[in-house]
Symmetry: C2
Subunit: 179 residues, 2 copies
């Protein structure tokens, strides 16, 4: 719900109704709306780990795992695990100009995701799969950019072609780095 209405636009009453609880009963579990938002970010983080990060870890470090990250990310967007697309794209867009614990939590996750991508680039360089002259952080930024925009376009248009653009962009970018 937070990916559709926003972390702030989601109200206690609607959430309580959705889970079949009373507003006060739900509220008692968190104590404040901000705590609920932080718990929501934690929950989304866990889901993302389970659906994207952990499954990719079965692939060999380097290029295979990097491609698995991209494929699993796009899959979780296309399958509408979150109806409003990637949770952290929604959250960062909403919170990026609003300092506070919620923004810090979402930002920390985004940076962890970026560093995971960068690490796979580094590993791919170490194994000789990718050009060692490239800046891993820069490549991670570019690949993530494709995924973020593709996610937004897919949510807005429901057109899987947006995700195909991401795949092609990733492919052609990695091709320029293949030795």
């Amino acid at each position: 719900m937070a990916t559709v209405e926003g972390l702030d636009g989601l109200s206690l009453a609607r959430l309580a109704d959705a889970v079949g609880m009373s507003k006060s009963g739900l509220f008692a579990h968190f104590g404040s709306k901000e705590e609920l938002q932080l718990a929501t970010i934690d929950a989304a983080s866990t889901i993302f780990d389970e659906l994207v990060i952990e499954p990719a870890s079965t692939e060999a470090a380097g290029l295979p795992r990097l491609r698995a990250y991209v494929a699993l990310f796009l899959q979780h967007v296309e399958e509408a695990v979150f109806p409003g697309g990637c949770f952290f794209v929604s959250a960062m867009s909403e919170l990026d100009a609003q300092p506070g614990p919620a923004r810090d939590g979402a930002l920390a996750f985004s940076q962890r995701w970026l560093s995971l991508l960068a690490r796979q680039v580094m590993d791919a360089q170490a194994t000789g799969e990718l050009d060692p002259a490239a800046d891993p952080s820069q490549i991670a930024f570019e690949l993530n950019a494709y995924m973020v925009l593709g996610n937004m376009q897919f949510v807005a248009t429901s057109d899987p072609a947006a995700l195909d653009r991401v795949r092609q962009a990733v492919d052609s970018r990695l091709a320029t780095l293949t030795v």
Copy 2:
């Protein structure tokens, strides 16, 4: 204000206070909050045109104008014309999962922006500046992706390095297409 609090999070009372009017006096000009949001999108569209699109039209069609689009976009982000970054990145992120006239308006602008970028790629191909084998829409997608993510990171971190990443990404991507 809409780029910080969101088009929905912005309330009539706060806006009226900010412009030194009464809530009812301001409201009378629009008739409903949705009309205010649509007028806000129109106003932001005009500002973007004046600061980014029109100034770039003095550059020659093709590669020079394409680079001007990127440079002016990054400039308007860095100068915090909108305190929450590019208005349409904020708007699309908030509205992408909420069908309605507001989303349609923001989406239309985004697609116009993308088509402007794609047209410059086509012109650059026609003038022999860029590889004619590339798909202009695909290149526009990739360049816009850099700008969108760079915008989000800059707003969240206030670190101009995010915009430098965009510049480098654009440069290296265009370099692969230079004949």
